[in-house]
Amino acid sequence: MKFLDEYRDFSAVQKMAQAIRRITTRHWTLMEVCGGQTHTIVKTGLQELLPETVTLVHGPGCPVCVTPLVTIDRAVAIALRPEVILCSFGDMLRVPGSTLSLFDAKALGADVRIVYSPLDALNLARANPNREVVFLAVGFETTAPANAMAVWEANRQKVFNFSMLVSHVLVPPAMETILSSPDCRVQAFLAAGHVCMVMGFEEYLPISQKYRVPVVVTGFEPLDLLEGIQMAIAQLESGRAEVENQYVRAVRRPGNRAAQERVSDVFEVTRRSWRGIGEIPASGLRLREAYSRFDAELRFPGRLLQEAEESRECIAGLVLQGIRKPYECPAFGTRCTPDIPLGAPMVSSEGACAAYFHFGRRENNGNPIVSIAGARN
């Protein structure tokens, strides 16, 4: 596939890895922000190509993982209503709420459907005027333009049996939270390439300056990640702290203006609770008042649910901030697996815990074994 396969080429990847080895003289800890990047790293065994002194820690860039418990519970409650068709991207279905996941709700008879685009949900609403179609809108800035367009169009075409349960999150505030934590060991960031495709990368300049960290906007294929790592290490080795763009084929400094405009027409910034981390001010999006009729929270008011307790064993918050690796959790692979998850990073296909479980460390007879890709860092 053009513009994909070339960035998976064996010899190009080996050469880039060599280029990294040539310039690395010290220990460096880098964080890749986006779950898609984590997935690639663990799935391709990329870590093995890096010098031993380079540590990659995984960030909270998995919107599925950080969706608050109450949102899942709300979605499940709405889905169980007989008139509702609850639409969602596939990854959300297995995330445990305080008792049920959407998959469980489906097994109990709820009409829960996987869609690939919010427009599919809108089409369902038009095709089913006697039903209420609710779309679970979870994602980073990458997905906001699509969700904004769906609401915009619903409004324009007067499709009023359509609504959205919004749990959008924003990357830069999360990065700041990580950087301002006293346990922070991150020395450079690989910023999320597709988030920046929409938003541009100007908002990382003040962060880079304030915390004196290099920020390299990076893509998702093995060669992209290695090039991003090379650029970050080049900065670290020479004492620079700037914002650079590796993902030049997709990202421009101002980002996509048309998309940004539609997003700010429909959504506004709000504080948001990140599961496992806590509340971060100005870190989420919600529907503007002008579009409140499309807000599923208002259309389906529920009892104010108590913030349900998370498992006391689950260290998702520490994993999401890159402070612990998944295999450092005592429950990893034993009491917490993708089939019996204690927390969201084990459920989402891009959660760090799930990635390590599927591609890396495995359990055998109760003793964790180090797999080949496993736990060098």
Binding site: G35, G45, K106, Y116, T337, I340, F359, N364, I372
Partner: protein, 346 residues
């Protein structure tokens, strides 16, 4: 759902969920926790595609399969083709020549007779190609709304022609893993109808009877240790099952795994991994290293296995895992499918 505050692991579900049918971890758990304990016997516990039985000195193989695919008709075949070929292939994987099949139909009230005709016609043709007969059957009808149009169960009996026992227990360190052709065509063909994907060319299900190609291997005197057809859960599930019974490591080379461009593209789009996508006319064969080139020659002369290729090797190990050497030179575990493979969007 796991009770989050309880320190003991609780079964994930009290009810059947779709993932129990996925062919991966939950399916195996269901078999191990419900069916095996109830029906305990050696033939069942070998957990192979079919059961090999002795009756008065004759070795027979027996297998059964139920088909619930939606849509009933898709590019390259119908649920009827799957029903016949699937059972014929399970027998072939036991080293058995198919002789007779049964077919049980559960029909939903309202099903078009013309649809039933189409499906039965495809079954007749598939049985003819496999040189087997449908000798007995059954029909039930469910109220409208209680079924997906049509479900078919087929059972099959075959005569075992394999000179040695073939199965995961016969796999040895050093064995080569051969795959009979391109992966993922069936799953993508079915999904393409469900998801409304349009293709430039066409992606057709690979449903086909495998016995002729397997028989040719036996006729050529190739020493075969294990055969497994690749169905739901894809290549990964088949290899994981074998690895766990054989207690050996199976190492696969990602760059050698055959996947057509269009299937790869569809998988990228839908967020699927071709290694987990269903096939219906593909199998994996474990043969000693010395037999590989002969085995490939024999297979490639059959249309159904014309793209047969070696993809990996079996190793001695302390942990029975399937591992993948990735395209870029890294290594990772190729895990058992967990639950239904949910397409990644993000």
């Amino acid at each position: 759902m796991a009770i989050l505050s309880c320190p003991l692991p609780v079964p994930a579900t009290e009810r059947i969920v779709l993932a129990h049918g996925g062919g991966g971890r939950l399916t195996n758990q269901l078999i191990e926790s419900v069916f095996l304990p109830a029906f305990r016997n050696p033939a069942l516990e070998s957990r192979h595609d079919g059961a090999v039985l002795s009756a008065d000195g004759v070795k027979l193989a027996m297998t059964t399969d139920t088909y619930v695919v939606q849509p009933l008709i898709f590019p390259g075949g119908t649920i009827g083709d799957l029903a016949i070929n699937g059972t014929v292939n399970d027998l072939a994987m036991c080293g058995a020549r198919p002789i007779a099949l049964s077919a049980g139909f559960v029909l939903e009230e309202g099903l078009l007779l013309s649809t039933l005709h189409t499906i039965v016609a495809s079954m007749r043709e598939a049985a003819r190609l496999a040189n087997a007969s449908v000798v007995t059957g059954d029909t039930k009808v469910l109220d409208k709304g209680r079924g997906d149009g049509l479900f078919i169960n087929t059972a099959g009996i075959g005569v075992v022609v394999a000179p040695n026992a073939i199965g995961p227990e016969a796999v040895r360190p050093g064995d080569a893993v051969i795959v009979s052709g391109n992966l993922g065509s069936h799953g993508i063909a079915v999904l393409s109808v469900r998801e409304g994907l349009e293709f430039d060319g066409e992606v057709k299900s690979d449903t086909a009877p495998l016995w002729p190609a397997v028989e040719a291997l036996f006729d050529a005197g190739i020493e075969i240790h294990c055969l497994r057809d690749l169905t739901r859960g894809g290549l990964s599930s088949a290899l994981n099952e074998i690895a766990s019974v054989a207690r050996l490591n199976i190492e696969v080379e990602e760059s050698l795994i055959p996947v057509s461009d269009v299937v790869r593209g569809a998988c990228e789009l839908l967020g699927l991994d071709p290694l987990y996508v269903a096939n219906e006319g593909r199998f994996a064969a474990f043969v000693p290293d010395t037999q590989v080139s002969r085995a490939l020659d024999v297979l490639r002369s059959h249309q159904v296995a014309s793209r047969a290729v070696r993809v990996g090797t079996v190793h001695e190990t302390s942990s029975a895992l399937v591992t993948l050497r990735t395209r870029i030179g890294g290594n990772r575990v190729l895990d058992m499918l967990s639950g239904e493979q949910l397409p990644r969007i993000c």
